[in-house]
Symmetry: C2
Subunit: 338 residues, 2 copies
């Protein structure tokens, strides 16, 4: 019988997650009971939010408990089933955890539509929560309108690269902030951003003055820290600052660095607003349809960075994510494609 | 001929404004030209915003220039006039500056309605920008609804005490945060707040947990700093954080302390929004009428702290303001009542 290797949370990390914060556990692949099925996982999604899930305390989802399999989204194929809606061979996506096989009762699991002829991994990117986060964050929380200027941070990341593209295809002017020449070139040359600012080498305030002389109508923030502070000083009147994440702060051992320039909200009559995509669940259908259509039309590129390796690469791949090595959605492909 | 004593800005202060940052200048009272009039100032309004006006650089109003008369709102009587709408004897309120006499062309000057039978000083409090700030900040920016919980900081200040009262008369639950037992007792016993937290002696987080167990629907912030940080951890789902001011930060020499807990906006799906009351100018009529009616009905108390002295007391009185000594609107009465 097959073995199921899993990463379980051993310790709550102090600062960045380390190899020793995990227990690698091997179990037998479970047998499904009535109404259950087993998924062999192919793609594991690596998300900045993972760091927050490892902390104790109140957040928008409960923390991962010590000893529990680490939470992760993934895709895979049903390999054993006693559930009528999820027969063997079906491709699915859901919150399957950092492991090779997952037992599920179908709760929160979506079917992957093979007729769309897109790789299953896109269901972790623009066709998944990543795309939905970009969609609702920009259009709903950010109240973006054609002709407006959008500045997006973490612009080469999964959400950031999607936000910029959605703003472009709605007639926006888009400036991305990302780390490194290659990423910046990619944003402009491949994704059609109007400009990209390399935070590693450029003076962000000055570059924003050049590329967004009238200020940002929407500042879509994935990173927090000094970059958010610089952005607050370049807001257009009535701007919306969308707080999607703060990847620069998640590993902080001294607590988050608060946005020192928050009184700019008063000067610009601007708002800063947080959101969690799950709140838009009743509108996921509308958004997913739009995203799938843009993808089919070639107007939206599913940017992904796939690491082909075994599950043993998970701790190291997560470290790469926080080091900002990836462009687009970072995925660990376990090589189990049916 | 009468003399006009004025305080002009000598230096941009580092930290708190000092006596030496001012030049006391004595001029002759000017003669009005055609279309002008002269006001003898009775009440000078002392406002936290004054500290910001003394700084160089972009804000919601231009800075006071070095050598210029310090900006201040006031009331007074017209004592010389060549303006048909502002005859001698008329009581008026406007941005007259820190001086004993002001020359005006009527721009931005309001008539004081003696028939309302309220002291002229109320036009610097609930019938002036203070009341309007509380009104639009709470009802419009804060989107307050009956039955909701409002937490207001700087609660014994001019704006804070008005915000709490307006929330009460609209059916809210109101918790004020203020400094000192006397102020806290006043908020509860005289103004009808549901609870008051003394930031000097109480643990704010714990007290908020007790008094606002479901969190704040509106967190109306006048102070910034640690108190704002504590409040961010007690937001109800969908809360509005209204940024009206940050009196704890204005004298900072190291830049404002940013709200470290701003990611709570994400957890609570909350927004933080800045505003400037002048943006609501086209709705001042509606609000002023409501405020005057509540005042006449005795449902709203114009809380004020009047220092009767000469204009020479201005620098010291301003220092008292930032030390939080006042309850309600701090006014310097120059004793020139007609």
């Amino acid at each position: 019988m097959s073995k199921n290797r899993q990463y379980r949370l051993a310790h709550r990390p102090v600062g960045a997650a380390k190899e020793t914060d995990w227990d690698l556990v091997t179990e037998l692949v479970p047998n499904p009971s009535d109404g259950e099925f087993v998924v062999q996982i192919q793609h594991l999604s690596l998300d900045p939010a993972m760091r927050g899930w490892m902390n104790a305390g109140r957040s928008y989802v409960p923390p991962v408990e010590i000893g529990a399999v680490m939470r992760a989204y993934g895709t895979g194929a049903v390999v054993a089933s006693r559930h009528p809606d999820f027969p063997v061979g079906e491709l699915v996506t859901g919150e399957f955890g950092v492991q090779e096989y997952a037992l599920s009762d179908g709760h929160g699991v979506r079917h992957i539509d093979r007729r769309l002829q897109v790789p299953a991994s896109a269901y972790l990117g623009v066709l998944g929560l990543t795309g939905l986060t970009a969609y609702f964050g920009l259009l709903d929380v950010g109240q973006f309108q054609a002709g407006q200027t959008v500045v997006v941070t973490g612009a080469a990341g999964a959400v950031g690269s999607t936000v910029g593209q959605i703003a472009k295809l709605h007639g926006g002017r888009v400036i991305g902030i990302a780390g490194g020449t290659d990423k910046c070139r990619y944003l402009v040359d491949e994704l059609g951003f109007d400009a990209a600012i390399d935070y590693k080498t450029e003076n962000i305030r000055q570059a924003l003055r050049t590329h967004a002389p009238e200020g940002a109508d929407v500042f879509f923030d994935n990173v927090g820290g000094d970059i958010l502070d610089d952005g607050l000083l370049r807001l257009a009147h009535g701007a919306r600052v969308v707080i999607c994440g703060a990847v620069s702060q998640y590993n902080s051992q001294t607590g988050a660095h608060g946005p020192r320039n928050y009184l700019a909200l008063l000067i610009a009559r601007a708002r800063m607003e947080g959101f969690v995509v799950n709140d838009y669940e009743d509108r996921f259908g509308e958004a997913s349809e739009a995203l799938a259509q843009w993808l089919a039309d070639g107007r939206l590129i599913n940017v992904e960075d796939i690491d082909h390796d075994s599950i043993l690469a998970f701790p190291e791949t997560l470290t790469q994510l926080f080091a900002g090595k990836n462009t687009g959605k970072l995925i660990l492909d376990l090589g189990s494609a049916p």
